[in-house]
């Protein structure tokens, strides 16, 4: 049974114990923050340039607009000559075909015409009489050749057809598409 003296003792040393615990917790917190800080400063090349809510037009050597690119954020890394995008969206309208490509993430090497899109990648392609919708987790787009390609599960909806495959390659202008493996599809007949 707890006697009166014991209670008094607990009340006397209790605050010190609580204080010690709080101090330990605070120290631990500081250490954690410190480790996060150091890990962030370990990235040797922090972006030399960051654009927020940017919109840019890209032209080929003949002055023909290849595509327009918007992104909520672009980090440019000078040493790697690489740009990293958040919520990138590409727009292209050539020869009566309009296509848009968007994703949560993107990356481009400034010495090539390739843009890699990742996370919830969507391509919508519209022509006069048809819309083709493509969904996947990752793909690369050659913005010069207008070729999109990957090697992962990809789903394509077109009219009343649904088709999926493991890996695809498509010419975004002519819409010629190669489905590389494991092709499964359904074509709903119009009643």
């Amino acid at each position: 049974m707890i006697t009166k003296e014991k209670l008094i003792q607990i009340f006397k040393i209790g605050p010190f114990i609580l204080a010690a615990i709080a101090l330990l917790f605070w120290l631990n917190l500081q250490e954690e923050n410190a480790s996060i800080q150091t890990s962030r400063t370990n990235i040797t090349d922090a972006p030399d340039l960051t654009l927020i809510n940017s919109s840019s037009k890209h032209y080929d050597e003949n002055g023909q607009q290849q595509y327009r690119l918007t992104a909520s954020k672009i980090d440019h890394y000078k040493d790697e000559r690489t740009a990293v995008f958040q919520q990138p969206r590409l727009f292209n309208n050539q020869q009566g075909t309009e296509w848009t490509a968007e994703a949560e993430q993107g990356q481009a090497n400034l010495d090539s015409d390739i843009i890699v899109l990742k996370d919830q990648v969507k391509i919508d392609r519209n022509t006069a009489d048809q819309t083709v919708r493509l969904r996947t987790s990752e793909l690369s787009i050659d913005t010069k050749q207008n070729i999109a390609e990957n090697d992962v599960l990809t789903v394509i909806h077109s009219g009343n057809s649904y088709i999926e495959s493991k890996g695809f390659q498509t010419n975004l202008n002519t819409n010629e598409t190669l489905l590389k493996a494991n092709v499964r599809g359904t074509h709903d007949v119009q009643k």
Partner: protein, 160 residues
Amino acid sequence: LPEDKTQPIQLEADQAKLNNETGISEYLGNVVIIQGTAQLRADRVILHTANNEVVRMEAFGSPAKYQQILQPNEPPTHIEGNTLDLKIADQLAEVTGNGKVFKGEDKLSSEKITYSLKTGELNATKSENSSDSRVRFIFHPPEKKSDKSASPSTDPKPQQ
């Protein structure tokens, strides 16, 4: 069956080449296409679509095989050949190269066969350039009914 053509078309293949502009798509490797009771199995199939509807299937295989139950309570009709050309709207199957059509135990083999899936009408021709290929037809007449059922009492009496 008549309602087959209202069923969705399911397809599987190792690879495919699609072209929405021309409406022609090519499926390669272990191609299986199923619509209701109709089944097509081939090494390669070219699908022709118009206004988003499949209008023709060209199948190539060794052999390409097609089967469908054409009438309720009947066995499926099987069609095989090196090339099967199925015209959906006309319900016509043209077979070239080692053509076979069989249903139950009835069987026809010929180099070229044209078969109407609608009427069951059939046209078979041998190959022009090979002398020994002939049209062969094995037909099993339906089993005769037992004699009892054919007794005079059932025959209609001649009018006096």
